[in-house]
């Protein structure tokens, strides 16, 4: 069933009784040509591209909970392009572009909201770092510019006067967009399901079965399922799922938190990054302030997060925007990230034949369409596209890391 204005009107006349499930309910078959573990944006996207671009439609996505209930549902939806290492800059520039046509391709409204991002700089060092970032990212097509205090005040009318904080200027990054995170999971699920992919929820992979030639299948809470090609996109659980195949991943699991206020009238269109405080916030389309900062100071699997992080985040925002003092806090949560030592993703083959991985690194919502496309291509052709060669697992033994640790903006 196509989603369109006409159909909406027609369903309206029929009291909305005619809408069908967005994706088929599926029970596992005995065997598939390919299986993807993890029903977040990355996993569902990979299944969709396997079917769409590579004609491999006998595919299943296995999700232990519900679709998009992992980090896909927990992130702050910022899609930015400010990475400074060449491999990352190239990849992320292409990743940001890959969102432009997604709604029409999937016939699902991603609610892309073009916001722009304004970074507040508070030292000369911030300023020279920003200039360096602008120069390097420009080589790959990203657009940023330094703005002076006057323009900064125009963009962020409620910010404190620079007389009270050592604000030296800002960076404006016009191409930053937000997209509706749930729509990404649902849109890919619906489109993949229409192409014949089985989407199986409440199905946890508990072991990976191998023979001398490589992967032969998976053990799941719904029984064993055979396959020779297995893709893994299980953000936060990568280390454990890969270990089932005997693959050791250099990953640490660290919570990242976000929080929202109650909704208020629109006053802020830009996404604001407070560089010196390692904090960012924005106003959602619903009017809530969505706030976040760095990862927790120690690894953990608890999806709660350390309490000092929200405190520091709010304290930082109030220093720059004191008039937000009366805002009411509504909710706080954490998602767990698989962090690599260099904070860059791993999209790679492994030493086990037929076992492929896409672990998103620190901020992988923005890369969802491109990473999923590349993962599918890797599974179908058993070799990496040049765009992801640098993201191989081997880089940890060869030492060719992409040290984006200080990835310029937030998330």
């Amino acid at each position: 069933m196509k989603y369109s204005a006409l159909n909406l009107a027609w369903q309206g006349v029929r009291n909305h009784r005619g809408w069908r499930r967005a994706w088929r309910h599926a029970t596992p078959k005995k065997a598939y040509d390919a299986i993807i573990i993890g029903g977040g944006g990355h996993g569902l996207g990979a299944a969709y591209y396997l079917a769409k671009k590579h004609g491999i439609t006998n595919v299943a996505v296995l999700e232990k909970g519900w679709l998009g209930g992992g980090n896909t549902a927990r992130n702050t939806m910022t899609i930015r392009d400010n990475f400074i290492y060449p491999d990352n800059a190239r990849f992320h520039h292409a990743a940001v572009k890959s969102w432009h046509t997604l709604s029409s391709e999937l016939n699902f409204n991603m609610m892309i909201s073009k916001r722009g991002m304004t970074t507040v700089l508070m030292s000369d060092r911030d300023l020279s770092d920003a200039q360096r970032m602008i120069n390097t990212t420009a080589l790959f097509g990203a657009e940023h510019r330094i703005i002076d205090i006057e323009e900064l005040q125009q963009r962020l009318p409620m910010a404190v006067s620079p007389a009270r904080l050592p604000i030296v200027g800002g960076v404006y990054h016009p191409d930053v967009v937000m997209a509706r995170h749930d729509a990404v999971a649902w849109g890919y699920a619906r489109a993949a399901s229409n192409l014949g992919v089985d989407i199986i929820e409440n199905c946890e992979v508990t072991d990976i079965i191998r023979d001398a030639k490589g992967v032969t299948g998976v053990e799941t809470s719904l029984g064993n399922i055979l396959t020779r090609k297995l893709g893994m996109a299980v953000a936060g659980h990568g280390k454990h799922v890969a270990a089932m195949a005997g693959v050791e991943l250099p990953i640490e699991t660290v919570p990242l938190q976000a929080m929202v206020s109650t909704p208020v009238k629109p006053f802020l269109d830009n996404i604001v990054v407070l560089r010196g405080f390692n904090t960012y916030f924005m106003q959602s389309d619903k009017g809530e302030l969505v706030m976040g900062s760095g990862t927790d100071p120690y690894p953990s699997y608890s999806q709660r997060g350390a309490p000092q992080i929200p405190e520091a985040t709010i304290a930082a925002i109030l220093q720059v925007f004191p008039s937000l003092e009366r805002m009411q806090f509504m909710r706080q949560w954490a998602g767990i990230l698989d962090l690599t030592y260099d904070n860059s993703p791993i999209i790679s083959k492994t030493e086990v034949d037929g076992f492929y991985i896409d672990v998103a690194g620190s901020g992988g919502f923005k890369t969802t369409p491109l990473a999923a496309m590349m993962h599918a291509d890797l599974i179908a052709n058993d070799r990496p596209d040049p765009l992801i060669e640098a993201y191989s697992l081997e880089r940890f033994s060869t030492g060719r890391l992409i040290l984006e640790r200080a990835s310029y903006g937030n998330r």
């Binding site: 280390k239 454990h240 050791e248 699997y301 000092q308 033994s397």
Partner: protein
């Protein structure tokens, strides 16, 4: 999280800095190590899901390194002995 320092008693986690898992020692003979073994030593943190022994530095307290047992699933703590790490 409230961490029990063997020297100072129960203190808020904010006084401490996480210092990583208590894990394998530095390789005896680094020159003889393969790339893969180096990778495992440097990058492959155990990333335990469950109880693990960890180093914590009581930097805003007595300034000593202590060993703590923490369950990474729910951040529950068990006190451990100080293994004579002096800051």
């Amino acid at each position: 999280m409230v961490i029990e320092c063997p020297h100072c008693g129960e203190r808020h986690e904010d006084e401490f800095v996480y210092g990583g898992d208590v894990r394998h020692a530095r390789p005896e003979n680094p020159d003889a190590l393969s790339d893969a073994a180096w990778r495992d030593y440097i990058y492959s943190v155990p990333n335990t899901k469950g109880w693990a022994k960890e180093h914590w530095w009581h930097v805003r307290g007595c300034n000593r390194w202590i060993v703590v047992q923490r369950n990474s699933v729910n951040n529950e703590l068990r006190s451990e002995t100080d293994e004579n790490y002096h800051g």
